[in-house]
């Protein structure tokens, strides 16, 4: 090998070919470029003309240079060039290669392998016996076998880094018992970390011969997780500039991607190792999705922290009075505020106390409940570490045995107190500042938060110690007592806006989140020894490079071993036992190894870099340049440049077209819908059947005319709606004829339709089969079921006689369309609604039925053609026209119902009014 400075040549004799380059230069230079062939009719006129200044008959120098460089690159490439070649020092005795094979060796595993391979081949060439010790903890017990070096190559190539810390056999002397005579030369490919048995081995090896250690080529970095109320990641690194930590998990579309970047804070450096903590300060909905944390740019198992229950969000059980069905009463419900406050950050489970307890929540919130039946179980749950949050309320205040109520942090006075009410002195009280060391430390109470009523605590010596928040007059607002391992917290006000406006403020959300965050999440290790889960099964394991693999052929891991961290029979990964999932993470906090008595090589100088490929690529690129240059020269400029310029401009244009952002995706609101919102236009759903769509349009047009004539509702032209594409939020009423050929809307459309229904819209489903139903033939009911199944539709019942729809504008008894006599369905009235004395109808306040379903084919009855004449015949003679009039009246009532809700039902004073009318009649003439 010829070595020139940092460059070595394996086949130096090929370089002699470089001497031929000047000859080549001369030959190439003499070759003129080919003339251009041009067809030209005027050749006759050119005859006999002589060139005044003939074109230079030489190749341009730059083209020559390109060709020369290409050839020179080829010659150099074939002479086997190596950048910084390594010249090995050879010994004569046996050779031992020790490879640390833990995760820390993974990033440059290939170069470690090739380094070891080179050492082995050299040993084989010198006929030295060799042994290979791969320190992955899987080595066979007993003495190392020294063998011919080339027989070890297969084992070396098959070795892969593992996802746990490397381990060396315990007794170095025993392991080296089979060493052949001679000085033992050792090559130790270290990962730079201090681990078990390493000093003993180093001492033993140095005593037997020279040890050269190949140090880690790049900084070591590992990631660990400290679980707790606020889990913290620690980045341990052997350099002082830690990179960011990526939080990776499925995005809302389910695609694995980077969800967040955590920047470690400035860390403390000790013994060359820097520990930088990084708070997992992420919105809970994001945090909940994270499946792994990873150091940016590191690809080994130690850089990965798999997420398990320890960083997942809390599960909160809500116990309270079930909500009433109707929409208007949501704002009165206590649970509504809690649900809104906790929903974004926690998993909320609702139900009876027993059900909630069974779902193993981290915290339970009980709203205004006394004498709970499962109180014994609840107390046991709290005792084992549960967090119970209770809210006061009228029921608690009225309870006569409040003093004896269990699971209350402080003794309460019965009855509570009103402040600032109509019959009390004083103004509503604001909140006192929170204690600086409590759970709520740092929160500021908005000034407008005021408490009008509260439950009062009995004065006692320990009251102050249990108070977490108090009012400006020092009466407690939130109290807490620790019971066993758990705690009980009481809000002395209601969870709705009845007693205070605290639930309306953002403070409420923050207080609840702080409280829920204190709920102890049961760490796996604590439960590991419990008898229910003696074994953990691997679900997914990491290899040394931090890549995920399905767990196959791994024995279940005893619970006791799980606490020891990953090892040979339990690689890092996710382990499951029944419902619970625990991650074993490879990363550990490490110390750097020191190598007394050994010769430490730097990893960088090891591999000589083969330049052959680079040079060949350069030659190929130069030849391509030469082709382009030759074309340029042959074209002689002019025309070629014009064409080439055009092509280049075209290419640039194409690239720009490809890069142009797709502005067509920007959402645009259909102008028809804006008009519909302006004009209170009635809308119908397009079924895809042109005849039926036209009928719907005509029907709504007819109804709009009647409304304009008879009422103050003046709708514009009807609007056709395609639920797949149109935004429904600006509409109030949808007419939806059912056909059996209609394709169901897309899931997004159903989301929009449900939102439409929840936000006060109404859909009139018309099966149009009033002439067929009841005779047993096929009807549209199945289509209706299919189409409406994904909609949020409350329980339905046939319209009762006293439904408000019978009197919103006209007094109606029947709701005919083109057909009549078929039941019309709407949201069922509450079961407990009863007729009161002296009232003509039940008090069914609140809630507009989101759907009306019937089969009377109303659109056909309402339909008018362009001239305003009915489009469909109805019944016979005058009866038919009477029925059409009734159909219109139903339409008017329906639209009134949609627009005004239950306004007409609100007539509590009807009997009095009727009495007065009667009296006036009697007094009158």
């Amino acid at each position: 090998m010829l070595v020139l400075g940092p460059l070595g040549f394996a086949l130096p004799w090929i370089l002699t070919a470089l001497a031929a380059l000047p000859v080549l230069w001369v030959i190439l230079r003499a070759m003129p470029p080919a003339p251009k062939q041009v067809l030209f009719p005027g050749v006759a006129l050119l005859r006999g003309l002589l060139d005044r200044m003939p074109l230079a008959q030489r190749t341009p120098w730059w083209l020559l240079l390109i060709r020369m460089l290409a050839i020179a690159a080829l010659i150099l490439a074939f002479s086997g060039p190596v950048w910084k070649p390594v010249i090995e020092r050879q010994g004569s005795g046996p050779m031992l290669i020790v490879m640390d094979a833990g995760w820390a060796a993974a990033p440059d595993w290939a170069s470690r392998q090739s380094r070891a391979e080179r050492a082995l081949s050299d040993a084989a060439a010198a006929g030295r016996p060799a042994a290979l010790l791969i320190a992955d903890g899987q080595a066979q017990a007993g003495a190392l076998e020294f063998a011919a070096a080339d027989s070890l190559l297969a084992g070396l190539r098959a070795a892969a880094p593992v996802s746990w810390s490397p381990t060396l056999p315990e007794n170095p002397a025993a392991a080296l018992a089979n060493q052949p005579a001679g000085e033992l030369q050792t090559l130790w490919l270290s990962d730079g970390m201090e681990h078990a048995n390493r000093p003993e081995w180093l001492a033993e090896l140095t005593s037997r011969g020279p040890v050269s250690v190949v140090a880690q080529g790049h900084p070591l970095r590992a990631l660990t997780l400290q679980a707790g109320d606020t889990p913290v990641l620690t980045l341990t690194a052997s350099d002082a500039h830690p990179p960011a930590i990526l939080a990776i998990g499925p995005d809302p579309q389910g695609i694995e991607r980077e969800l967040a970047r955590l920047e470690p804070t400035e860390g403390a450096t000790q013994d060359g190792v820097t520990r930088s903590p990084a708070q997992i300060d992420l919105p809970p909905e994001l945090r909940n999705r994270i499946s792994r944390f990873q150091i940016e740019g590191e690809s080994h198992a130690g850089a990965v922290v798999l997420a398990d229950e320890r960083i997942k969000r809390r599960k909160v059980g809500l116990v309270g009075d079930p909500d009433r069905q109707a929409e208007g009463q949501q704002l009165l419900s206590q649970l509504h505020y809690l649900r809104s406050a906790l929903g974004p950050t926690s998993d909320v489970v609702e139900g009876g106390l027993g059900d909630v307890l069974d779902s193993a929540p981290d915290a339970i919130i009980v709203v205004d409940q006394v004498d709970m039946p499962e109180v014994g179980e609840l107390a046991e749950w709290v005792d084992q570490g549960g967090l119970l949050i209770r809210f006061a309320g009228p029921r608690m205040a009225a309870d006569e045995e409040l003093v004896d109520e269990p699971l209350i942090p402080v003794a309460l006075r019965q009855g509570g107190r009103d402040i600032g009410g109509a019959l009390s002195w004083g103004d509503p009280r604001g909140l006192a500042p929170f204690a600086a060391d409590g759970v709520f430390a740092g929160l500021t109470a908005p000034e407008e938060v005021a408490v009008r009523a509260q439950l009062m605590a009995q004065p006692s010596p320990d009251l102050a110690g249990r108070t977490m928040a108090s009012l400006s007059d020092n009466t407690p607002l939130v109290t807490r007592e620790r019971l066993g391992e758990g705690q009980v917290v009481l809000f002395h006000v209601t969870a709705n806006a009845e007693w205070s406006n605290l639930p309306l403020s953002g403070l409420f959300v923050e207080m609840l989140n702080r409280l829920v965050a204190t709920a102890r999440v049961t760490p796996s290790q604590e439960r590991a020894d419990s008898r229910e889960t003696p074994f953990w099964n691997a679900e997914m394991v990491l290899d040394g490079f931090g890549r995920e693999h399905p767990a196959e052929g791994l024995a279940p891991v005893p619970a006791a071993d799980m606490a020891k961290g990953p090892g040979p029979d339990r690689p890092a990964g996710i382990y499951a036992a029944e419902e619970r999932r625990v991650a074993l993470n490879a990363g550990t906090e490490f110390r750097l190894a020191s190598w007394p008595g050994a010769q430490v090589q730097s990893a960088q100088v090891l591999p000589g870099r083969d330049l052959k490929g680079l040079l060949l690529a350069a030659a190929a690129a130069l030849l391509v340049l030469d082709v382009l240059g030759s074309a340029l020269v042959a074209a002689g400029g002019g025309r070629w440049r014009r064409g080439g310029g055009g092509a280049a401009a075209g290419a640039v244009l194409l690239a720009m077209l490809a890069l142009r952002p797709d502005s067509a995706l920007a959402q645009e609101i259909n102008p028809e819908l804006i008009r519909a919102a302006d004009e209170v236009a009635l809308a119908y759903v397009l079924t895809g059947d042109d005849r039926i769509d036209e009928t719907s349009r005509e029907g709504l047009e007819g109804l709009s005319r009647i409304l304009r004539q008879r009422s103050s509702v003046e709708p514009g032209e009807p609007v056709a709606i395609d639920p797949d594409n149109d935004d429904l939020s600006m509409l109030t009423f949808l007419y939806w004829p059912i056909t059996d050929t209609q394709a169901p809307p897309s899931p997004q459309a159903y989301l929009r339709l449900n939102h439409f229904l929840r936000s006060g819209g109404m859909i009139l489903f018309d099966t149009r089969d009033g002439d067929l139903t009841g005779v047993g033939g096929p009807d549209m009911s199945q289509s209706l079921r299919d189409l409406a199944a994904p909609l949020d539709i409350p329980p339905l019942a046939p319209l009762p006689d006293d439904h408000v729809l019978t009197r919103t504008f006209y007094l109606l008894e029947d709701f005919p369309g083109r057909w009549h006599g078929n039941p019309v369905w709407a949201e069922a009235p509450p079961a407990d609604a009863e007729l009161q004395d002296g009232m003509p109808f039940r008090q069914l306040n609140d809630g507009v039925s989101p759907v009306i379903i019937g089969g009377n084919s109303w659109a056909e009855a309402w339909a008018v053609d362009q001239n305003g004449y009915p489009a469909f015949p109805m019944g016979t003679g005058f009866d038919g026209e009477q029925q059409r009039e009734m159909a219109y009246r139903f339409g008017v009532n329906l639209i009134m119902y949609v627009l005004t809700g239950n306004y007409k039902s609100d007539q509590v004073h009807v009997p009095a009014l009727l009495d007065r009318l009667r009296v006036e009649e009697e007094l009158g003439p």
């Binding site: 003129p32 470029p33 080919a34 003339p35 251009k36 062939q37 041009v38 067809l39 030209f40 009719p41 005027g42 050749v43 006759a44 006129l45 050119l46 005859r47 003309l49 060139d51 005044r52 200044m53 003939p54 074109l55 008959q57 002689g636 400029g637 002019g638």
Partner: protein, 289 residues
């Protein structure tokens, strides 16, 4: 690329649309005794009524107008006004060089020449003249346009670079329109003109050239070849040839102008990147003026 007759006709129609029907100038009419559609104010072969005259002895019975004769005792003959149309013969070169176009976006010279020929024929036919391709019967009427379109597109190109009209085809009472690029051998021009002068035939020479032929935009090493491949000129400095080429072209034009003037003809030239209407207007002026 060659045009179908219908296509050529449509384009010619568009090119000639702006010109009114052309009637050859009165001065020449009287000189050549070969008028257009105007009556000759004397009896002769024609279509319009001219006069009744008494039949003369020896008159064929077919000639007697019996209806007029029945009103008197004398037999009358119905004379028609003498009408003779002058004929125009058009010749378009079919040499290989006419297929040349310096840019794919420009039409070849040959197609431009055909277009001009047909458009001119349309204008003339609209004026009632008799038009035909040189060497073929000249006719009047609208059908003649179609025949000429077919004749023009149906011309088989010769496989040499130069093409010349046959001087034998020249007839008296004819006007000639010769369209070519005049880039190759031009001996035939002198022969044609001398024979035409002898017969009292006047006409027009129109040179159609591609812009590349007018400007010679070449440079560097260029191997020029004629379209038939028969002629070639290898140059190592085409840009240096430009001035010489342009000078030779100008000389050729001067020579053609001199020849034309000597024979009472006109000479004009046309570039294919100019609108055909320019050339057509010039032809209109020259023939009608």
């Amino acid at each position: 690329m060659s045009l179908s007759p219908a296509e050529l006709r449509a384009r010619a129609q568009a090119a000639s649309a702006h010109l009114p029907g052309l009637i050859l100038s009165a001065e020449r009419l009287s000189r050549l005794v070969a008028p257009g559609a105007h009556g000759m104010r004397r009896a002769g072969a024609g279509e319009d009524f001219w006069q009744y005259r008494a039949a003369e002895p020896g008159e064929s019975a077919r000639n007697i107008d019996w209806r007029r004769s029945a009103r008197s005792d004398v037999e009358f003959v119905r004379d028609r006004e003498a009408q003779t149309a002058q004929s125009v013969g058009i010749w378009v070169s079919r040499g290989q060089g006419m297929d040349y176009s310096g840019d794919p976006e420009r039409l070849p010279k040959g197609q431009r020449a055909q277009l001009l020929a047909l458009a001119l024929a349309m204008v003339l036919l609209r004026g009632g003249e008799k038009v035909g391709l040189l060497g073929r019967p000249a006719r009047t009427g609208r059908r003649q346009v179609d025949r000429m379109a077919e004749g023009l597109t149906g011309l088989i190109p010769v496989d040499t670079d130069d093409d010349a009209p046959s001087a034998e085809a020249v007839r008296t009472n004819q006007r000639l329109v010769i369209i070519s690029d005049f880039l190759t051998e031009t001996d035939w021009v002198a022969a044609l003109l001398s024979r035409a002068t002898a017969l009292g035939v006047r006409g027009v020479l129109l040179q159609v050239l591609d812009p590349d032929e007018e400007e010679f935009p070449y440079s560097g090493a260029v191997d020029f070849r004629s379209l038939s491949g028969n002629m070639r000129h290898d140059s190592r400095d085409a840009a240096g040839l430009r001035d010489a080429y342009l000078m030779r072209l100008a000389q050729r034009r001067d020579w053609l102008t001199a020849q034309a003037q000597g024979a009472g003809w006109y000479f004009g030239h046309h570039r294919t990147d100019h609108p055909p209407a320019h050339a057509l207007s010039w032809l209109y002026q020259v023939l009608g003026g």
